[in-house]
Amino acid sequence: MDSKLMSLEEAISSYVQNGDLIGIGGLSFWRKPICACREIIRQEKKDLSICTFVGGIDVDMLVGGGCVSEIRASFVGMEVFGMAPHYRKGVESGEIRISEESEASIALGLKCSYLKVPFMPLKGIIGTDFPKVRDDIKQFEDPLGSGTQLMAMPKIDLDVAIVHVNDADEFGNGNIEGAVWLDDDMAKTAKKTIIISEKLVETEDIIRLPRRAQIPMQTTAAVVKVPFGAHPTSCFPNYTFDPIHIQTYLKTDFEEYKRKYILNKTHSQYLEEVGGVQTILNVLL
């Protein structure tokens, strides 16, 4: 079997193309592949559509970096830290297109792939203004004749999924310790999946994790080892999110932020810049 292990640079340059629809795992400030977002910005990818269940600094940073033309997320915010500034500016200025989404529209859209159906029915959304701004959804009546009105929510076909996991082997089996959210669905249905892992383990170790290794190697294209790669978001049960760096992010002009934390920075240099050892000790559980 071939190893899929590669550098972050190689994984992003090989598998992320301008214009792709990229699925990003995690939720809000939790287990987001932020190191991959920084790499995408370094590589100046353009015109990406970003799909994520609940977005935070991941989406905001990619918008700030000029990589995004469209967002598909049920929520993009900085939790109790406030609004996501670049996301907000991007949408308010009209630079960024929004596909207005709910939780179910994304969850069901991804599920379509398994069944190879073009849509899934949802009882929600009806009565909202979503249909006014989404011409790809449609209200219809239960074909079985109950008279129930339903909303058809379209399939979401990811070009690439990028997920951050706790453990992976070099062949692309990935294990998530905490909540999985939509990461498994993204990883299993995307055309190409990039796994960023805190840790590299042997396949043996993955086998010993019954009901864990949620991401089977069959659909994995690349495995990249990046300890603390989710910083400043969390990776349970290793570390929590870094509230201090999130505040720094919100207070810093993006061009300056980019210069200081993204451009020409190795991962090690990045970790030094965000506070080094003390920051690591702060976030470790």
């Binding site: 929520f75 009565g127 909202t128 498994d184 349970f236 509230p243």
Partner: protein, 290 residues
């Protein structure tokens, strides 16, 4: 009966009123970035609803034990689960089969007299004056729940209570019709001024009770549409001494709930305080409250 508190603050009033809506057999759905909700559910759990179960969107878990409200370690709480699901389906699966009752609190950016809510934008969708984070699961679920949906806002003003919301992202009783998806529709709106509810007949918003010290004129002036006013207007029962003691002493001693109420400099100071205190904690599993 415990005596009523005399020195409660507005965030405490909100939290206590929200807690009182919880029933003992509820599944309490906890979203993200809503410390008031978490504090309210935890308070309910340690007072009148010991059997209620937390359902954390954050962890996709059902959690039985109440723990102290935390800013940094929410994920640790959710990990103490007796049900750990594998995917986002948990969200979908918590849509109660008819045997489950759920309670979820939504905080709308705008709300109209029929309880339609907006968490999308101010102004035209295409060129919004303000883009909000989005509606998360409100559009999916708010009209399903058999117990209905529950609303709160610490900002009872004409920016929030509007004649017409700019974008319907949560469905109330459109044009006064019953909830279209079989749920019970909006049940109440708890604000810094009053406990609002909906008229059985017209489905229009009405005043349930007014908080102590607030006069009717203030409520009317702060609402962008006409509220139904009951003939026999009563005052909201304030937090009891016991509720306040639990809230301050055990449930949320760091006052994280206040982050939903404060703004500007005050809010930033509190945020920094909370972060400093929580980073200094050696043990990062928040205290168990049993």
């Amino acid at each position: 009966m415990s005596e009523y508190s005399k020195d409660y603050t507005m965030d405490e009033m909100l939290t206590v009123l929200m807690a009182r809506e919880v029933r003992n057999d509820d599944v309490m759905i906890v979203g993200v970035a809503t410390p008031c909700v978490w504090a309210a559910f935890t308070l309910a759990k340690v007072t009148h609803a010991p059997d209620a179960i937390f359902h954390y969107i954050m962890g996709n878990t059902y959690v039985f034990e109440p723990r102290q409200v935390s800013l940094l370690y929410l994920e640790m709480n959710t990990a103490r689960a007796y049900k750990f699901q594998n995917s986002g389906e948990c969200t979908l699966e918590s849509l109660p089969s008819d045997t489950l009752t759920t309670i979820e609190w939504f905080r709308p950016a705008q709300i109209d007299m029929y309880g339609n809510t907006n968490n999308i934008c101010i102004g035209e969708w295409k060129n919004p004056k303000i883009r909000f984070p989005g509606c998360a699961g409100i559009a999916d679920f708010s009209m399903f729940y058999s117990r209905g949906s529950f609303l709160y806002t610490p900002r009872h003003d004409r920016k929030t209570f509007v004649p017409k919301v700019d974008f319907i992202s949560g469905v109330g009783f459109p044009d006064g019709k019953p909830s279209i998806c079989g749920g019970s529709g909006p049940q109440c709106v708890i604000t810094n001024l009053a406990y609002l509810t909906f008229d059985n007949e017209t489905k229009r918003m009405k005043i349930g009770t007014i908080h102590p010290g607030i006069d009717l004129e203030t409520v009317k002036k702060s609402t962008g549409f006409e509220l139904i006013i009951p003939k026999d207007l009563k005052e909201t029962k304030p937090p009891t001494e016991k509720e306040i003691k639990l809230l301050r002493g055990k449930v949320d001693p760091l006052e994280i709930r206040k982050l939903e109420v404060l703004g500007g400099k005050e809010r930033e100071e509190l945020l920094n305080q909370v972060i400093e205190k929580e980073l200094a904690m050696e043990k990062r599993f928040p205290n168990l409250l049993l």
